[in-house]
Symmetry: D2
Subunit: 107 residues, 4 copies
Amino acid sequence: MDSEIKIEELKKLVRDFCEARDWDSFHTPKDLAIGLVTEGSELLEIFRFVKESDEAMVIQEKREAIADELADSLFFILRFAGRFGFDLSDSLAGKLEKNVKRYPPKR
Amino acid sequence: MDSEIKIEELKKLVRDFCEARDWDSFHTPKDLAIGLVTEGSELLEIFRFVKESDEAMVIQEKREAIADELADSLFFILRFAGRFGFDLSDSLAGKLEKNVKRYPPKR
Amino acid sequence: MDSEIKIEELKKLVRDFCEARDWDSFHTPKDLAIGLVTEGSELLEIFRFVKESDEAMVIQEKREAIADELADSLFFILRFAGRFGFDLSDSLAGKLEKNVKRYPPKR
Amino acid sequence: MDSEIKIEELKKLVRDFCEARDWDSFHTPKDLAIGLVTEGSELLEIFRFVKESDEAMVIQEKREAIADELADSLFFILRFAGRFGFDLSDSLAGKLEKNVKRYPPKR
């Protein structure tokens, strides 16, 4: 559960899974980035031609498919970061800090 | 740091950032999925036309740009999951479990 | 055949196909752009985890799937351009002209 | 103009441009597919967070940027097809024919 698991633990889960399958030679930066885009695109395809007014319904009806594509996309981010030494929490916090100036809060 | 931060804490960071800016009405499922794909695509573009043998060099030379695009992509996954009630850790663990059969370990 | 067909004729083929199905209300600019990206992503997925040295083999073995994804991607470009009044030949020629300065010819 | 130019002529325009720059070694199938997705994604980004009701306005206000991204996407389709011997008109016509059964006309 997201309330219990640390990012590093998810990274390790993914790393162990990949190393047990000898996937290192396939997991180049370019192919991991392709992985992220192609899985993100499968998430997007679920909403293709869906009208704004029907999106909430699709969220309800396709929960399992959506959860799968979110997991697949996250897999490639965690694998990329774990394999090439990026700290996601630090990068995200730093990015948000920069964006505070770019997009000042309204409230 | 990834070794300290739980997924839920990152989700909350992103939610607070978005709610302070009244972004809810823009953050439909379709537009968040577009966010994921367009940011993932910016990560991919860093490796466009880069030869396999040069990828390691690019990883070194463009660390900051890569960290930024990873953070941007993760932002949209966390926002999507947080906004529509998906548990990423559970989804990812479930997905890996299914994949154990599909891709039996070599080691 | 590409040696006989004009761009405008392909645009018309696509337009007639879509109008006969009353697809106008689904074919907003955003959804047509999603169509292009999701179909392009299916082409890309064919080469995911394929090593540089194996790409030529994949081109041979998956000709039909590749032709399908190229056609699907082109469909959305032609539909977008036809529906919203863009001239693709002029845009492409203009783009190449600009790029002559950016990338001077080597030969 | 699209009413005058044949697909083959556009293919040749692109091929001549690329050959004059010695781009063959960079234009592998995988990198050309990445080109298509990343350029399509730039088109999509123009409509990110744009409400259905505002899409028509964006089409008017960003005509030049849209034309550029359509041209860039088409460039990679023409280059891929030209370089690896795919006939786009035949593929598209064949695809539409198959889809007549899948999506019977309403009119």
